[in-house]
Symmetry: C3
Amino acid sequence: MSPEERLASLGIELPEAPAPLGSYVAAVTSGNLVFLSGMLPLSMGKLARTGKLGDSLTVEEGAGLARLAAINALAVLKAETGSLEKVKRCVRVCGYIASTPEFTQQPAVLNGASDLIAEVFGEIGRHARAAVGVSVLPLDSPVEVEFVFEVETD
Amino acid sequence: MSPEERLASLGIELPEAPAPLGSYVAAVTSGNLVFLSGMLPLSMGKLARTGKLGDSLTVEEGAGLARLAAINALAVLKAETGSLEKVKRCVRVCGYIASTPEFTQQPAVLNGASDLIAEVFGEIGRHARAAVGVSVLPLDSPVEVEFVFEVETD
Amino acid sequence: MSPEERLASLGIELPEAPAPLGSYVAAVTSGNLVFLSGMLPLSMGKLARTGKLGDSLTVEEGAGLARLAAINALAVLKAETGSLEKVKRCVRVCGYIASTPEFTQQPAVLNGASDLIAEVFGEIGRHARAAVGVSVLPLDSPVEVEFVFEVETD
Protein backbone atom coordinates (compact mmCIF):
# COMPACT_ATOMS: atom_id res chain seq x y z
CA MET A 1 0.00 0.00 0.00
CA SER A 2 1.16 3.54 -0.65
CA PRO A 3 1.23 6.03 2.26
CA GLU A 4 -1.89 7.65 0.81
CA GLU A 5 -3.65 4.26 0.76
CA ARG A 6 -2.60 3.61 4.35
CA LEU A 7 -4.04 6.96 5.37
CA ALA A 8 -7.30 6.08 3.65
CA SER A 9 -7.37 2.67 5.36
CA LEU A 10 -6.95 4.48 8.70
CA GLY A 11 -9.89 6.69 7.80
CA ILE A 12 -7.72 9.79 7.71
CA GLU A 13 -8.36 12.50 5.17
CA LEU A 14 -5.55 15.03 5.00
CA PRO A 15 -6.67 18.58 5.76
CA GLU A 16 -5.54 21.57 3.77
CA ALA A 17 -1.95 22.36 4.61
CA PRO A 18 -2.18 24.78 7.57
CA ALA A 19 -1.18 28.39 6.99
CA PRO A 20 1.89 29.61 8.86
CA LEU A 21 1.31 31.93 11.84
CA GLY A 22 4.03 34.42 10.88
CA SER A 23 6.56 35.47 8.28
CA TYR A 24 7.72 32.02 7.26
CA VAL A 25 6.66 28.98 5.23
CA ALA A 26 5.36 25.57 6.23
CA ALA A 27 8.16 23.58 4.57
CA VAL A 28 11.58 24.08 3.01
CA THR A 29 13.34 21.51 0.85
CA SER A 30 17.14 21.59 0.89
CA GLY A 31 18.82 18.84 -1.12
CA ASN A 32 16.81 15.74 -0.29
CA LEU A 33 15.76 16.90 3.17
CA VAL A 34 12.39 18.54 3.84
CA PHE A 35 12.25 20.64 7.00
CA LEU A 36 8.73 21.31 8.28
CA SER A 37 7.75 24.21 10.52
CA GLY A 38 6.56 23.36 14.03
CA MET A 39 3.16 21.72 13.54
CA LEU A 40 0.25 22.44 15.86
CA PRO A 41 -2.84 20.23 16.42
CA LEU A 42 -5.06 22.16 14.05
CA SER A 43 -8.50 21.03 13.01
CA MET A 44 -10.39 23.07 10.41
CA GLY A 45 -7.61 25.64 10.78
CA LYS A 46 -8.12 26.08 14.52
CA LEU A 47 -6.38 24.56 17.54
CA ALA A 48 -8.32 21.47 18.60
CA ARG A 49 -7.48 22.16 22.24
CA THR A 50 -5.48 24.52 24.43
CA GLY A 51 -3.79 23.97 27.78
CA LYS A 52 -0.99 21.97 29.32
CA LEU A 53 -0.28 18.36 30.08
CA GLY A 54 -0.35 17.68 33.80
CA ASP A 55 -3.10 20.23 34.18
CA SER A 56 -6.15 20.30 31.90
CA LEU A 57 -5.24 17.40 29.58
CA THR A 58 -4.68 13.68 30.06
CA VAL A 59 -1.82 11.74 28.46
CA GLU A 60 -4.30 10.13 26.07
CA GLU A 61 -5.70 13.50 25.02
CA GLY A 62 -2.16 14.81 24.51
CA ALA A 63 -1.26 11.80 22.36
CA GLY A 64 -4.35 12.42 20.23
CA LEU A 65 -3.23 16.01 19.72
CA ALA A 66 0.29 14.92 18.79
CA ARG A 67 -1.30 12.57 16.25
CA LEU A 68 -3.32 15.49 14.88
CA ALA A 69 -0.16 17.59 14.57
CA ALA A 70 1.39 14.72 12.60
CA ILE A 71 -1.64 14.62 10.28
CA ASN A 72 -1.13 18.32 9.63
CA ALA A 73 2.54 17.59 8.96
CA LEU A 74 1.62 14.99 6.33
CA ALA A 75 -0.67 17.52 4.66
CA VAL A 76 2.22 20.00 4.47
CA LEU A 77 4.63 17.31 3.30
CA LYS A 78 2.26 16.22 0.52
CA ALA A 79 1.78 19.83 -0.57
CA GLU A 80 5.57 20.25 -0.65
CA THR A 81 6.48 17.03 -2.46
CA GLY A 82 3.39 16.28 -4.53
CA SER A 83 3.11 12.74 -3.18
CA LEU A 84 3.91 10.96 0.06
CA GLU A 85 5.41 8.19 -2.08
CA LYS A 86 8.41 10.48 -2.50
CA VAL A 87 9.31 9.93 1.17
CA LYS A 88 12.41 7.80 1.67
CA ARG A 89 12.68 8.22 5.42
CA CYS A 90 11.27 10.10 8.37
CA VAL A 91 14.54 11.41 9.81
CA ARG A 92 13.82 13.49 12.92
CA VAL A 93 10.80 14.32 15.06
CA CYS A 94 11.08 16.86 17.89
CA GLY A 95 8.05 17.18 20.13
CA TYR A 96 7.60 20.16 22.41
CA ILE A 97 4.96 19.31 25.01
CA ALA A 98 3.46 22.14 27.09
CA SER A 99 3.81 20.72 30.58
CA THR A 100 3.38 21.60 34.21
CA PRO A 101 6.72 21.27 36.03
CA GLU A 102 5.65 17.89 37.46
CA PHE A 103 4.50 16.21 34.22
CA THR A 104 7.12 13.75 32.94
CA GLN A 105 5.31 11.55 30.40
CA GLN A 106 6.28 13.55 27.30
CA PRO A 107 7.35 10.38 25.44
CA ALA A 108 3.88 8.83 25.83
CA VAL A 109 2.32 12.03 24.45
CA LEU A 110 4.69 12.22 21.49
CA ASN A 111 3.98 8.58 20.67
CA GLY A 112 0.72 9.86 19.20
CA ALA A 113 2.77 11.42 16.41
CA SER A 114 5.41 8.70 16.16
CA ASP A 115 2.85 5.90 15.97
CA LEU A 116 0.94 7.60 13.16
CA ILE A 117 4.14 8.08 11.16
CA ALA A 118 4.96 4.40 11.69
CA GLU A 119 1.45 3.33 10.62
CA VAL A 120 1.59 5.40 7.45
CA PHE A 121 5.19 4.74 6.37
CA GLY A 122 6.09 1.40 7.98
CA GLU A 123 9.80 0.71 8.35
CA ILE A 124 10.91 3.98 6.67
CA GLY A 125 8.79 5.86 9.20
CA ARG A 126 11.11 4.94 12.08
CA HIS A 127 12.76 8.19 13.16
CA ALA A 128 15.17 9.77 15.62
CA ARG A 129 13.24 11.72 18.20
CA ALA A 130 13.40 14.15 21.09
CA ALA A 131 10.51 14.80 23.50
CA VAL A 132 10.79 17.90 25.66
CA GLY A 133 8.51 19.54 28.21
CA VAL A 134 8.16 23.29 27.76
CA SER A 135 6.42 25.91 29.83
CA VAL A 136 4.05 27.20 27.12
CA LEU A 137 3.50 27.09 23.35
CA PRO A 138 2.08 29.46 20.71
CA LEU A 139 -1.66 30.13 21.09
CA ASP A 140 -1.57 27.99 24.28
CA SER A 141 -1.23 24.86 22.13
CA PRO A 142 -0.63 21.70 24.19
CA VAL A 143 1.87 20.30 21.65
CA GLU A 144 4.09 21.42 18.78
CA VAL A 145 6.03 18.95 16.63
CA GLU A 146 8.89 19.51 14.17
CA PHE A 147 9.68 17.00 11.42
CA VAL A 148 12.53 16.38 8.99
CA PHE A 149 11.91 13.97 6.11
CA GLU A 150 14.27 12.59 3.48
CA VAL A 151 12.66 12.53 0.05
CA GLU A 152 13.51 11.44 -3.48
CA THR A 153 14.85 14.22 -5.60
CA ASP A 154 14.20 14.28 -9.32
CA MET B 1 20.84 44.38 -4.25
CA SER B 2 23.13 41.96 -2.46
CA PRO B 3 22.29 40.94 1.12
CA GLU B 4 25.11 43.18 2.32
CA GLU B 5 23.62 46.12 0.37
CA ARG B 6 20.18 45.41 1.84
CA LEU B 7 21.69 45.43 5.33
CA ALA B 8 23.30 48.79 4.59
CA SER B 9 20.01 50.16 3.23
CA LEU B 10 18.37 49.09 6.50
CA GLY B 11 21.06 50.95 8.40
CA ILE B 12 22.40 47.75 9.92
CA GLU B 13 26.10 47.30 10.47
CA LEU B 14 27.01 43.73 11.36
CA PRO B 15 28.74 43.41 14.72
CA GLU B 16 31.74 41.21 15.28
CA ALA B 17 30.67 37.59 15.31
CA PRO B 18 29.84 36.88 18.97
CA ALA B 19 32.12 34.57 20.91
CA PRO B 20 30.62 31.27 22.06
CA LEU B 21 29.78 30.92 25.76
CA GLY B 22 31.29 27.44 26.14
CA SER B 23 33.32 24.70 24.51
CA TYR B 24 31.84 24.97 21.04
CA VAL B 25 31.91 27.10 17.89
CA ALA B 26 29.47 29.62 16.45
CA ALA B 27 28.94 27.80 13.15
CA VAL B 28 29.61 24.45 11.50
CA THR B 29 29.38 23.81 7.77
CA SER B 30 28.47 20.27 6.72
CA GLY B 31 28.03 19.78 2.99
CA ASN B 32 26.08 22.81 1.88
CA LEU B 33 24.32 23.35 5.20
CA VAL B 34 25.57 25.83 7.80
CA PHE B 35 24.35 25.15 11.33
CA LEU B 36 24.60 28.14 13.67
CA SER B 37 24.77 27.95 17.45
CA GLY B 38 21.84 29.39 19.39
CA MET B 39 22.09 33.14 18.91
CA LEU B 40 21.42 35.58 21.75
CA PRO B 41 20.46 39.28 21.44
CA LEU B 42 23.96 40.57 22.00
CA SER B 43 24.94 44.19 21.56
CA MET B 44 28.61 45.12 21.98
CA GLY B 45 29.14 41.57 23.21
CA LYS B 46 26.60 41.89 26.02
CA LEU B 47 22.95 40.88 26.31
CA ALA B 48 20.81 43.87 25.33
CA ARG B 49 18.16 42.84 27.88
CA THR B 50 17.34 40.09 30.34
CA GLY B 51 14.00 38.75 31.55
CA LYS B 52 10.97 36.93 30.24
CA LEU B 53 8.10 37.68 27.90
CA GLY B 54 4.85 38.00 29.76
CA ASP B 55 6.69 39.56 32.66
CA SER B 56 9.23 42.35 32.19
CA LEU B 57 9.15 42.61 28.37
CA THR B 58 6.50 43.53 25.83
CA VAL B 59 5.93 41.63 22.59
CA GLU B 60 7.46 44.54 20.66
CA GLU B 61 10.57 44.53 22.84
CA GLY B 62 10.84 40.76 22.40
CA ALA B 63 10.57 41.08 18.62
CA GLY B 64 13.34 43.68 18.66
CA LEU B 65 15.55 41.27 20.60
CA ALA B 66 14.78 38.43 18.18
CA ARG B 67 15.80 40.80 15.36
CA LEU B 68 19.03 41.55 17.21
CA ALA B 69 19.72 37.81 17.59
CA ALA B 70 19.23 37.48 13.82
CA ILE B 71 21.70 40.31 13.19
CA ASN B 72 24.23 38.42 15.30
CA ALA B 73 23.43 35.31 13.26
CA LEU B 74 24.19 37.15 10.02
CA ALA B 75 27.51 38.28 11.47
CA VAL B 76 28.39 34.67 12.28
CA LEU B 77 27.16 33.48 8.89
CA LYS B 78 29.26 36.06 7.07
CA ALA B 79 32.34 35.12 9.12
CA GLU B 80 31.72 31.44 8.25
CA THR B 81 31.03 31.84 4.53
CA GLY B 82 32.98 34.99 3.60
CA SER B 83 29.95 36.61 1.97
CA LEU B 84 26.19 36.58 2.49
CA GLU B 85 25.89 36.24 -1.29
CA LYS B 86 26.81 32.58 -0.80
CA VAL B 87 23.42 31.98 0.83
CA LYS B 88 21.04 29.93 -1.32
CA ARG B 89 18.29 29.54 1.27
CA CYS B 90 17.43 30.13 4.89
CA VAL B 91 16.27 26.61 5.77
CA ARG B 92 15.23 26.49 9.42
CA VAL B 93 14.78 28.94 12.27
CA CYS B 94 13.97 27.73 15.79
CA GLY B 95 13.15 30.40 18.33
CA TYR B 96 13.20 29.68 22.03
CA ILE B 97 11.33 32.45 23.84
CA ALA B 98 11.71 32.75 27.64
CA SER B 99 8.08 32.99 28.71
CA THR B 100 5.88 33.06 31.73
CA PRO B 101 3.45 30.10 31.63
CA GLU B 102 0.65 32.41 30.42
CA PHE B 103 2.48 34.10 27.52
CA THR B 104 1.40 32.61 24.18
CA GLN B 105 2.57 35.12 21.54
CA GLN B 106 5.90 33.44 20.75
CA PRO B 107 5.25 33.68 16.97
CA ALA B 108 4.91 37.48 17.14
CA VAL B 109 8.20 37.68 19.03
CA LEU B 110 10.04 35.41 16.62
CA ASN B 111 8.74 37.47 13.69
CA GLY B 112 11.42 39.98 14.65
CA ALA B 113 14.01 37.48 13.43
CA SER B 114 11.99 36.09 10.52
CA ASP B 115 11.15 39.52 9.14
CA LEU B 116 14.78 40.61 9.17
CA ILE B 117 15.83 37.47 7.31
CA ALA B 118 13.09 38.14 4.74
CA GLU B 119 14.15 41.79 4.36
CA VAL B 120 17.79 40.86 3.81
CA PHE B 121 17.37 37.80 1.58
CA GLY B 122 13.98 38.24 -0.07
CA GLU B 123 12.38 35.07 -1.45
CA ILE B 124 15.29 32.80 -0.47
CA GLY B 125 14.93 34.04 3.10
CA ARG B 126 11.60 32.27 3.56
CA HIS B 127 12.23 29.48 6.08
CA ALA B 128 10.64 26.67 8.05
CA ARG B 129 10.24 27.70 11.64
CA ALA B 130 9.35 26.63 15.16
CA ALA B 131 8.55 29.05 17.99
CA VAL B 132 8.59 27.62 21.50
CA GLY B 133 8.11 29.09 24.95
CA VAL B 134 10.73 27.97 27.47
CA SER B 135 11.06 28.58 31.17
CA VAL B 136 14.47 30.27 31.12
CA LEU B 137 17.48 30.81 28.84
CA PRO B 138 21.24 31.19 29.30
CA LEU B 139 22.24 34.40 31.14
CA ASP B 140 18.51 35.14 31.57
CA SER B 141 18.29 36.02 27.87
CA PRO B 142 14.71 36.69 26.70
CA VAL B 143 15.27 34.92 23.36
CA GLU B 144 17.61 32.42 21.71
CA VAL B 145 17.39 31.58 18.01
CA GLU B 146 18.94 28.73 16.02
CA PHE B 147 19.43 28.95 12.24
CA VAL B 148 20.28 26.54 9.43
CA PHE B 149 21.27 28.04 6.06
CA GLU B 150 21.95 26.37 2.72
CA VAL B 151 24.98 27.87 1.00
CA GLU B 152 26.89 27.50 -2.24
CA THR B 153 29.82 25.19 -1.97
CA ASP B 154 32.90 25.78 -4.07
CA MET C 1 44.75 8.08 18.78
CA SER C 2 41.41 6.90 17.50
CA PRO C 3 38.23 8.08 19.26
CA GLU C 4 37.93 4.61 20.78
CA GLU C 5 41.50 4.86 22.12
CA ARG C 6 40.78 8.32 23.55
CA LEU C 7 37.71 6.93 25.32
CA ALA C 8 39.84 4.14 26.79
CA SER C 9 42.50 6.65 27.91
CA LEU C 10 39.72 8.59 29.68
CA GLY C 11 38.67 5.37 31.43
CA ILE C 12 35.31 5.39 29.65
CA GLU C 13 33.72 2.14 28.58
CA LEU C 14 30.75 2.68 26.29
CA PRO C 15 27.53 1.21 27.66
CA GLU C 16 25.07 -0.70 25.53
CA ALA C 17 23.22 1.66 23.26
CA PRO C 18 20.16 2.72 25.29
CA ALA C 19 16.76 1.48 24.16
CA PRO C 20 14.32 4.14 22.96
CA LEU C 21 11.44 5.06 25.28
CA GLY C 22 8.75 5.02 22.57
CA SER C 23 7.96 4.19 18.97
CA TYR C 24 11.17 5.47 17.42
CA VAL C 25 14.84 4.55 16.97
CA ALA C 26 18.01 5.83 18.60
CA ALA C 27 19.65 7.02 15.38
CA VAL C 28 18.83 7.69 11.73
CA THR C 29 21.43 8.14 8.99
CA SER C 30 20.42 10.34 6.06
CA GLY C 31 23.13 10.91 3.48
CA ASN C 32 26.24 11.55 5.57
CA LEU C 33 24.39 12.97 8.56
CA VAL C 34 23.49 10.88 11.60
CA PHE C 35 20.66 12.27 13.70
CA LEU C 36 20.50 10.90 17.25
CA SER C 37 17.41 10.82 19.41
CA GLY C 38 17.44 12.99 22.54
CA MET C 39 19.92 11.32 24.87
CA LEU C 40 19.27 11.02 28.61
CA PRO C 41 21.89 10.48 31.36
CA LEU C 42 21.34 6.74 31.60
CA SER C 43 23.55 4.44 33.64
CA MET C 44 22.89 0.70 33.47
CA GLY C 45 19.73 1.56 31.53
CA LYS C 46 18.34 3.80 34.28
CA LEU C 47 18.42 7.55 34.83
CA ALA C 48 21.43 8.38 37.00
CA ARG C 49 19.50 11.24 38.64
CA THR C 50 16.20 13.06 38.46
CA GLY C 51 15.28 16.65 39.24
CA LYS C 52 15.99 20.16 38.03
CA LEU C 53 18.93 22.50 37.93
CA GLY C 54 18.47 25.39 40.31
CA ASP C 55 16.66 23.09 42.71
CA SER C 56 18.03 19.68 43.65
CA LEU C 57 21.17 19.63 41.48
CA THR C 58 24.33 21.73 41.33
CA VAL C 59 25.90 22.98 38.09
CA GLU C 60 28.70 20.44 38.53
CA GLU C 61 26.24 17.59 38.96
CA GLY C 62 24.34 18.77 35.90
CA ALA C 63 27.53 18.89 33.83
CA GLY C 64 28.33 15.34 34.93
CA LEU C 65 24.90 14.24 33.74
CA ALA C 66 25.33 16.02 30.40
CA ARG C 67 28.63 14.17 30.04
CA LEU C 68 26.84 10.91 30.77
CA ALA C 69 24.23 11.70 28.11
CA ALA C 70 27.09 12.28 25.65
CA ILE C 71 28.61 8.90 26.55
CA ASN C 72 25.26 7.30 25.77
CA ALA C 73 25.25 9.23 22.48
CA LEU C 74 28.65 7.81 21.55
CA ALA C 75 27.37 4.31 22.30
CA VAL C 76 24.44 4.89 19.93
CA LEU C 77 26.68 6.47 17.31
CA LYS C 78 29.09 3.54 17.41
CA ALA C 79 26.20 1.06 17.10
CA GLU C 80 24.90 3.04 14.10
CA THR C 81 28.20 3.52 12.25
CA GLY C 82 30.26 0.52 13.35
CA SER C 83 33.20 2.69 14.41
CA LEU C 84 33.69 6.17 15.82
CA GLU C 85 36.52 6.56 13.28
CA LYS C 86 33.78 7.10 10.69
CA VAL C 87 33.00 10.47 12.29
CA LYS C 88 34.06 13.44 10.18
CA ARG C 89 32.47 16.16 12.35
CA CYS C 90 30.22 16.72 15.29
CA VAL C 91 27.79 19.16 13.65
CA ARG C 92 25.12 20.16 16.17
CA VAL C 93 24.44 19.66 19.86
CA CYS C 94 21.19 20.88 21.43
CA GLY C 95 20.96 20.61 25.21
CA TYR C 96 17.64 20.85 26.98
CA ILE C 97 18.29 21.52 30.67
CA ALA C 98 15.42 21.06 33.16
CA SER C 99 15.61 24.32 35.07
CA THR C 100 13.83 26.34 37.69
CA PRO C 101 12.79 29.72 36.23
CA GLU C 102 15.75 31.41 37.94
CA PHE C 103 18.53 29.07 36.80
CA THR C 104 20.55 30.62 33.95
CA GLN C 105 23.75 28.57 33.75
CA GLN C 106 22.59 26.14 31.06
CA PRO C 107 25.84 26.64 29.06
CA ALA C 108 27.98 25.50 32.00
CA VAL C 109 25.82 22.38 32.35
CA LEU C 110 25.94 21.54 28.66
CA ASN C 111 29.73 21.95 28.68
CA GLY C 112 29.79 18.51 30.30
CA ALA C 113 28.65 17.09 26.96
CA SER C 114 30.61 19.48 24.74
CA ASP C 115 33.87 18.94 26.60
CA LEU C 116 33.60 15.16 26.32
CA ILE C 117 32.99 15.40 22.58
CA ALA C 118 36.03 17.66 22.27
CA GLU C 119 38.18 15.28 24.32
CA VAL C 120 37.18 12.28 22.23
CA PHE C 121 37.25 13.83 18.75
CA GLY C 122 39.62 16.79 19.06
CA GLU C 123 39.24 19.46 16.37
CA ILE C 124 36.45 17.64 14.49
CA GLY C 125 34.47 17.50 17.73
CA ARG C 126 33.90 21.27 17.74
CA HIS C 127 30.18 21.78 17.12
CA ALA C 128 27.41 24.33 16.79
CA ARG C 129 25.31 24.33 19.92
CA ALA C 130 22.17 25.56 21.63
CA ALA C 131 21.56 25.38 25.38
CA VAL C 132 17.99 25.89 26.53
CA GLY C 133 16.28 25.79 29.91
CA VAL C 134 13.03 23.82 29.90
CA SER C 135 10.41 23.28 32.57
CA VAL C 136 10.61 19.48 32.72
CA LEU C 137 11.96 16.49 30.78
CA PRO C 138 10.91 12.87 30.24
CA LEU C 139 11.09 10.72 33.40
CA ASP C 140 12.09 13.89 35.31
CA SER C 141 15.53 13.72 33.70
CA PRO C 142 17.69 16.78 34.51
CA VAL C 143 19.13 16.94 30.97
CA GLU C 144 18.40 15.72 27.44
CA VAL C 145 20.86 16.23 24.59
CA GLU C 146 20.38 15.90 20.81
CA PHE C 147 23.33 15.36 18.46
CA VAL C 148 23.92 15.50 14.71
CA PHE C 149 27.16 13.99 13.38
CA GLU C 150 28.63 13.99 9.89
CA VAL C 151 30.11 10.62 8.98
CA GLU C 152 31.96 8.99 6.11
CA THR C 153 29.72 7.16 3.74
CA ASP C 154 30.95 4.09 1.90
